[in-house]
């Protein structure tokens, strides 16, 4: 299967940045993957994401070397509006991505722009309201919404475009832990039900163990780790890259370093305690 997103020997620096921001990126992402992207602040995560939906090089210009291919086409040769039907982008601050006076009007904004006919807009609107569980917010004004609700509206506004890829740049940073957890679960639901490819930058890794398939760690504009989530999360030096490893995983790492042989590897407290229970009863 050809990858949905492909970076080939890619380098980029903004016009006013003296050093390259992205260095020698080679990356392939397949359709349907749920990718977690992490790394210290300023390492170039947002820059990498902007290259996928065409904000780079179309809105932000700079020195652009190599190729970025999305769904078989070179990003640099398509305009952002065309890419908007392939890549949905949800930003950190939900406030600044809702433009219209009501939720409903905001959701149809993109569809009106690309000239979808009225009936189809109606259908997609209902679908998006339903899938994100925001039917009751339909006629509300943006200032009558909580941050979590705004973030859902923002996703709905991109999902109606039927993109193949959904990119989220620190979507939960303004949400409380419970709302953030629900939000991430919704993402997983979408990933499962409509098979949309998801790339998310998220600092709270404890939200993601059962959600992300793959984890990419960046530092200084380069990819330093890339692989299945459960393998990368075991890496010893993750904390050097600003990644807060969930305690249950650090615990297992420390145990195995000090010579304790665990029969397996658990990503959450429940399965870890199951594992320990079995082990303890066996030793009895």
């Amino acid at each position: 299967m050809t990858p949905l997103i492909k970076f080939i020997d890619f380098n980029f620096s903004y016009l006013d940045s003296p050093t390259p921001i992205l260095k020698n990126i080679n990356l392939e992402i397949k359709e349907g993957e749920f990718v977690l992207l992490v790394g210290p602040s300023g390492c170039g995560k947002s820059t990498l994401l902007r290259c996928i939906n065409g904000l780079i090089p179309h809105l932000y210009s700079g020195v652009y070397k190599g190729k970025v291919i999305v769904d078989g086409e070179q990003v640099s040769e398509k305009n952002i509006s065309t890419l908007a039907t392939k890549v949905g982008f949800v930003f950190q601050n939900p406030e600044n991505q809702i433009f219209m006076f009501t939720v409903e009007k905001d959701i149809v904004f993109g569809l009106e722009n690309i000239g979808v006919d009225k009936e189809e807009i109606g259908r997609r609107l209902e679908w998006a309201l339903k899938i994100l569980n925001i039917e009751h917010l339909r006629y509300r004004a943006p200032y009558e919404l909580s941050d979590g609700q705004k973030q859902r509206v923002a996703i709905a506004g991109t999902l109606v475009m039927h993109p193949k890829i959904l990119i989220l740049d620190e979507p939960t940073s303004l949400l409380d832990p419970k709302t953030a957890y629900e939000f991430i679960s919704t993402l997983k639901e979408l990933n499962r039900s409509i098979g949309i490819t998801i790339i998310v930058v998220e600092h709270r890794i404890d939200l993601l163990p059962k959600v992300a398939d793959r984890m990419i760690v960046m530092d200084g504009g380069q990819i330093v780790f890339d692989g299945p989530f459960k393998d990368i999360i075991k890496e010893k030096n993750l904390h050097l890259y600003g990644v807060t490893v969930p305690p249950i995983i650090s615990l297992q790492n420390t145990l195995s370093e000090s010579g304790v042989n665990l029969p397996g590897y658990s990503l959450d407290v429940r399965s870890f305690s199951e594992m320990i229970k079995k082990e303890v009863f066996r030793n009895d």
Binding site: N53, L55, H58, L59, N79, I80, S81, T82, A84, T85, V87, G88, F89, F91, N93, E95, N96, Q97, I98, F99, M100, F101, T102, K105, V108, F109, G110, L111, E112, N113, I114, G115, V116, D117, K118, I121, G122, L125, P142, Y143, G157, T158, M161
Partner: protein, 244 residues
């Protein structure tokens, strides 16, 4: 100060008048505005004002309309006094004052009963360029957001010891600089993020843009328009031919 603005700000409300097509509401408002300009006797103004208050009652916005009214009274007093001082007779001053009141309150009819949403549709139905409409929509949409920003910045600068209310007039204006600068910076950051988000949602896509919402005149709209136009004709006829 905010309570004055109440007289011009839309609040969601259920009334027969609110459900009228915004273009007709605009027509009614403009018509009353126009009649206020051509009227010149106390009787004429009384009719117009009664009508305006009737619409105020019908649309359940009378209370807020009265606020604009009270607000204009202070202006009125000024106009009145100046007129007398300059040497116009009392009658003339009264007429000018009545005209001022009816002009202000006829304008407020439209703004009190039409949401920004409806205003947007009216602009669309006049085929204004979409860029202009969008600029209007986002400007209005971000008013509460930027106001909240301002309050937050003000609070945080106060907590660092800024005393806004202190000093003479010039000093007080200067006091606002530490609030204004972060506010402007924040607005610029917002506008950049807004640009990114707009682009990411196909703003300015070359093909023809569709519109999910449009205005349709219904029976009650035709009815309201007919009543309004008949009234205007009768009124003008009465002024110019019957000399009431």
């Amino acid at each position: 100060m905010f309570w004055i603005a109440e007289g011009l700000i839309y609040r969601r409300q259920d009334s027969v008048f609110h459900t009228i097509d915004p273009r007709i509401k605009l027509l009614i408002s403009m018509m009353l505005f126009f009649l206020s300009l051509v009227s010149s006797t106390i009787v004429e103004f009384s009719i117009i004002l009664v009508l305006i208050f009737f619409i105020g009652a019908l649309s359940k916005t009378l209370k807020r309309m009265v606020r604009t009214f009270v607000f204009s009274l202070s202006f009125l007093a000024m106009i009145f006094v100046i007129n007398i001082l300059v040497g116009y007779d009392i009658m003339f001053s009264i007429i000018i004052s009545l005209r001022f009141i009816s002009v202000v309150s006829s304008t407020s009819i439209f703004f009190l009963t039409s949401s920004p949403d409806e205003l947007e549709l009216v602009m669309k139905s006049f085929y204004l360029p979409y860029d202009l409409i969008f600029a209007f929509v986002t400007a209005v949409r971000f008013v509460p957001v930027i106001m909240l920003d301002a309050i937050q910045i003000l609070d945080s600068q106060r907590s660092r010891g800024l005393e806004i209310e202190k000093g003479n007039f010039i000093k007080r204006i200067k006091n606002y600089i530490p609030v204004l600068i972060p506010l402007i910076v924040q607005a610029i950051i917002r506008s950049e993020e807004l640009a990114e988000a707009m682009e990411s949602r196909a703003y300015g896509f070359s093909k023809k843009k569709t519109s999910y919402y449009s205005l349709h005149l219904r029976k009650r709209d035709y009815f309201a328009a007919t009543v309004a136009i008949c009234f205007m004709i009768v009124f003008i006829y009465a002024i110019y031919f019957l000399h009431i």
